[in-house]
Amino acid sequence: MNLSLSELAKKLNLPESTVERWIKQGRMPVHKESGKCIFNKSSLIKWASKHNLKFMIFEENNKIGDDKKELTFLSSMENGEVFYDVKGEDIYGVLENAVNKISSFDENQKKDLLAKLIERENLTSTGIGNGIAIPHPRVPVENFSESAVITCFIDGTVDFNAIDGKPVFILFILLSPSTKEHLSLLSKLAFCMRDISFVEFLKSKPSKDSLIEKVSEFENKS
């Protein structure tokens, strides 16, 4: 097959000048003819693997990964559910009731998730102040492809040992497949929570639709 020098260099993940020099020096099984690099694919792959190099011939297929939807708080909210009037006397009770409401999880998953949330809660409280808590597992959830935020409005308030001591009225349970996404989600959530008007809006226990509308307003702002 034949490729241009720059394409070949890209596939080998080498600088163009190196590939050009190696061809000139006869170090790789490639011939140059009127600006095209001509080679036998299998012998080049063999050569590359012999020299600890990689020849990525199927690079085109790898591009699919880049088209992945960009992670936003909004999309995670849409992925998750919103529950109202979650009951509970203390942290554990609230968490248990909240987790039990998740419709897409089976019994085992619920048990597993609850254990992880409680484990994290025992470490330090996830109450980040202003009556908001963000329970999440310490390690990313397995077999989970897209991040989701599960919003739970608590019936009344619960003492969550929050950093500012205020009782908590809302939980955002953060579930994400990787630490990186978790951090990005956390930072976006924190951006919203810093706004007092948003907190006031949450206290009014809005419907899922209006909540998402409000969040999208924020997304556009930032």
Binding site: L14, P15, T18, W22, Q25, G26, H31, I38, N40, H51
Partner: protein, 572 residues
């Protein structure tokens, strides 16, 4: 026309595309024959010239002949072809290691003509180096003609050198070994086979045209144990003479450089001195193979003192010829001096231990030759195989190996680099395959550039800069002036204390924190120099600046990464 074009690019033929070994063997045969012919042409014309001038050897003005020859050859090289003097082997070695064996077409005959003039008129020099040079040039140009790549060209250069040596001595193995040991400096299978074939082709050419004539085939060389012991002494003596000759040759060069005149006049002066020396010791003139023959056959009757003086006279004559601008090699003079040394040593042994039955003097002359070649060229295998092949027997094998290896080792103590590569080593240009220097020379700064640095402007506020920091991956931030010229570097380490101090965000301008005295690298810089600078200053990254603009960063990590790839590609 198109058909003709495709004939010129055999490496693209389907048959050779997958594996070029057959192609190289085929080319090796062609190159071997061509360089063999060149070698024969030189040795034939030398013989004719020497024969011609032999008739006049009784006249008083004969001392002027070497001067005329040296002047003509110097004039020819410097003014007609505009090539430097010198015997050519270092040039071939350098071209092989640096330019993929590229040698100019005119080199294929320039040294032939010039050395023919020098030696034919009586100058003391050897025709081997010129023949190697032209063989190599023939190989290189044939490779160019057929559009071969660097690696293949280097092989053909080796083929040319091997074919030439093989033809001139009728010694195919010596040709092959000389090429591997001296010219290429590596023993790789891809090279050995075409070069061996070229050697055979060169030797066969010589046998067809001149006849299969093995110079000393009828000698009886039965060495005893006691001769073996004597060999150690001979090895030491040849080592001393080798060192003497190496130093003499080089010093003569420095002496002649002090004489400020035109090169051809200088060559003529040297030639005159050689001619005068020739009055006293006629053996020093020319390549000296007649003297060697006489000594090996045992017909050279002079006593110890005369032989010893002749050895030194030959050294002097060779230094005068080559050091003052004559053209030719040192291979043949080495052999002559070696046989003088061997003979002198034999004479000395006979005087000191008259009761012992030593082997004949010819054998010692041969061993002396091997010792000299091994000492000066630091190529023991070449010495051994050359003698084995010109005697056509392996009887002297044991003492040969002993003399050659000991002589090489002893010389190596005093002269770590062989005569051929000494200049290259001094200039840092000896780049044998697979060595650190070679890898670093092949890599260029441009190949190692890292482009993932974010360039910032000098008048940027610190607050904007914080945003840049958030989105960048590197710890170095090159800074440029308003006009885009390089201003310096901001090191992340140095701004760490202010990073979390929000008060500073609007108080600092990049201009205030930029390090404008950073060491920079240019595209043309030597990588070994760059690495040395990094080591000496404890740097891990340096900015590359071209035309006063920032081009990218170069870092030790990337250098190591590419270094390893390059080493793997070069050595396997």
């Amino acid at each position: 026309m198109r058909k003709l074009f495709s004939l010129r690019s055999p490496s693209r033929w389907f048959f050779f595309r997958a594996d070029d070994r057959l192609l190289l063997i085929l080319m090796g045969i062609i190159v071997g024959i061509c360089s063999g012919l060149a070698a024969l042409a030189l040795s034939y014309s030398l013989e004719t010239l020497l024969e011609f001038f032999h008739h006049y050897s009784q006249h008083w003005w004969v001392f002027i002949l070497p001067a005329i020859g040296a002047a003509l050859s110097s004039f020819f090289l410097n003014y007609v072809l505009k090539e430097g003097a010198g015997h050519g082997v270092p040039e071939v070695i350098y071209s092989v290691s640096r330019y993929g064996g590229l040698i100019r077409l005119r080199s294929s005959f320039s040294r032939l003509v010039s050395s023919c003039l020098t030696i034919g008129f009586g100058g003391s020099a050897g025709p081997e180096a010129p023949v190697v040079m032209s063989g190599a040039a023939i190989g290189s140009n044939i490779a160019n003609f057929f559009y071969l790549n660097d690696r293949q060209r280097v092989t053909l250069v080796g083929c040319g050198a091997a074919g030439a040596i093989a033809a001139i001595f009728n010694a195919p193995i010596a040709g092959m070994i000389f090429t591997m040991e001296v010219i290429l400096g590596e023993w790789s299978m891809v090279n050995i086979i075409p070069i061996a074939i070229a050697s055979v082709a060169g030797a066969e050419t010589s046998r067809l045209l001149v006849g299969n004539y093995i110079k000393f085939s009828h000698l009886t060389l039965n060495t005893n144990f006691i001769d073996m012991v004597a060999c150690f002494g001979l090895a030491a003596v040849t080592a001393i003479v080798s060192i003497l000759m190496t130093r003499m040759l080089r010093n003569m060069h420095h002496v002649s450089e002090k004489v400020k005149t035109k090169p051809w006049i200088r060559a003529a002066m040297g030639g005159c001195l050689v001619g005068l020396l020739g009055f006293q010791v006629p053996e020093v003139l020319g390549e000296g193979y007649h003297a060697i023959e006489a000594m090996v056959q045992g017909t050279f009757k002079a006593g110890l003192l005369v032989v010893a003086v002749a050895a030194f006279a030959k050294i002097l004559a060779t230094s005068l010829t080559l050091g003052w601008g004559g053209s030719g090699g040192i291979f043949a003079p080495c052999l002559v001096i070696g046989s003088f040394t061997g003979l002198a040593f034999h004479r000395l042994l006979v005087i000191v231990f008259p009761e012992i039955a030593w082997v004949n003097e010819g054998c010692f002359a041969l061993l002396g030759m091997a010792g000299m070649i091994s000492g000066i060229l630091q190529a023991p295998l070449t010495g051994i195989f050359l003698i084995v092949e010109i005697t056509g027997s392996s009887e002297v094998m044991l003492p040969l190996i002993a003399v050659s290896s000991i002589s090489t080792t002893l010389c190596h103590y005093f002269e770590p680099a062989s005569f051929y590569v000494k200049d290259l080593v001094e200039k840092g240009q000896l780049l044998r395959p697979g060595t650190d220097e070679r890898v670093l020379t092949d890599l260029s700064v441009a190949e190692l550039l890292e482009f993932d640095c974010v360039v910032i402007k000098k008048n940027m506020m610190f607050r904007e800069f914080i945003e840049v920091v958030k989105s960048s991956k590197r710890n170095y931030y090159p800074v440029e002036n308003e006009d885009g010229s390089f201003a310096g570097i901001v090191y992340f380490d140095e701004i760490r204390p202010y990073l979390f101090d929000t008060l500073m965000y609007d108080a600092i301008i990049i201009e205030q924190i930029v390090d404008d005295k950073v060491r920079v690298v240019n595209y043309t810089d030597d990588l070994s120099e760059v690495l040395k600078t990094m080591d000496n200053n404890g740097l891990y990254s340096m900015p590359v600046v071209s035309n006063n603009r920032f081009a990218g960063m170069i870092s030790k990590a990337t250098i190591l990464d590419h270094y390893r790839k390059e080493l793997k590609v070069q050595t396997t």
